[in-house]
Amino acid sequence: MIAALTYVVVGLSVVLCGAAVVYAVRDRLIDDLLLGIAGLLELALLVVLVGGLVGSGHVTDSAERATFIAYLVSLPVIPPGTAFLAIKEKSRWAMGSIAVGAFAVGVMSARLAQIWMSYD
C-alpha cells in the first residue's frame, strides 16, 4: 500500500518536474495548471504521511525508522514552499524552483519506498 502510493508520488513529481522545465523553456510563469499538479502531489504526500506514520512500526530498525519518519514529515513541506518561492519570483528561475523541488520529492520518495520494501 505504502509502496504503491510512493510510486504515485514519484510519478507525479516527475510530471511536475517535466512541466516546470517546459514552462521554463517557454518562459511562462506559474499558473493554475502547474499549481494543480503541485496540489495533487501535495495531496498524495499527505496521504503517504498519514499512512506511513500509522504503519511506521513496519520498519523495525530504529535508525532506518528515524530516516523514514524524517522523510515522511519533510516531504509535504517542499511543494508549498517551492510554489511560494515560484509565485514571488517573476522570472524564468521560478520554474527552476519548482523543478528542483519536484526532483527532490521524487528522490526522497523513492528512498522512502526503498526503506519500506526492505522490510517486506
Binding site: 530504529s62 519533510s74 517542499i78 518561492l85 519570483e89 522570472s91 528561475w93 527552476g96
Partner: protein, 152 residues
C-alpha cells in the same frame, strides 16, 4: 528596510531562488534526521549526532540568509564558510575514525550520503553571496554619486 542600498542587496531573485530551494531541502532533511537521532538513540554516536545537529542549524541559517538577503548576506557568508569547514573536517575525520560515525550524517564522508551536495553547496553559496555583495557595492557607489551633490 528604508535604506535603499540595503533593500537592493537582495539575495533572492534569479538563480538565487534555486539555491534557496536546495538549501531548504537539505536543511529540512538534516533537521528531521537530527531531531530523531538525538531523541531516539543519542548514546550510539553522541559526537556524530551533535555535529549533525550543528550542521542542520547552519543549513537553516544559510537558507534564511539566502532568502532574506540584505543585512543577512554577511551572516550567510559566515554560515557557508562554517559549512565548508564542517564538511571538509568531518569528512576527513569520518575516514580516519569510521567507528565514531556509524550512521551517515550530512557531513560524514564528505556528504556522500547526500550525493556530495553538502560539499558543493557551500561553494555555490559563497560564490552567490560574493556576487550579491559586489552588486550591492556597485549600487552603493551609484547611490553615493546620486546623492553627493545634495548631501553634506
Amino acid at each position: 528596510m528604508t535604506d535603499p542600498v540595503l533593500r537592493d542587496r537582495r539575495a533572492l531573485g534569479g538563480p538565487g531562488v534555486l539555491l534557496v530551494v536546495v538549501y531548504g531541502v537539505l536543511a529540512l532533511a538534516a533537521t528531521g534526521r537530527s531531531v530523531l537521532q538525538i531523541s531516539e538513540y543519542f548514546d550510539r554516536a553522541p559526537l556524530a549526532y551533535v555535529l549533525s545537529a550543528l550542521a542542520a542549524v547552519v543549513y537553516l541559517l544559510a537558507t534564511w540568509c539566502l532568502a532574506r538577503g540584505g543585512r543577512w548576506v554577511r551572516v550567510g557568508i559566515v554560515a557557508c564558510a562554517v559549512e565548508l569547514a564542517g564538511v571538509l573536517l568531518v569528512g576527513l575525520a569520518s575516514y580516519l575514525d569510521p567507528s565514531a560515525f556509524p550512521d551517515k550524517t550530512v557531513w560524514s564522508h564528505f556528504g556522500q550520503g547526500y550525493g556530495f551536495v553538502p560539499l558543493v553547496l557551500p561553494v555555490l553559496g559563497l560564490l552567490w553571496f560574493r556576487r550579491v555583495e559586489r552588486g550591492a557595492r556597485a549600487d552603493a557607489a551609484v547611490h553615493e554619486q546620486d546623492v553627493a551633490p545634495t548631501s553634506d
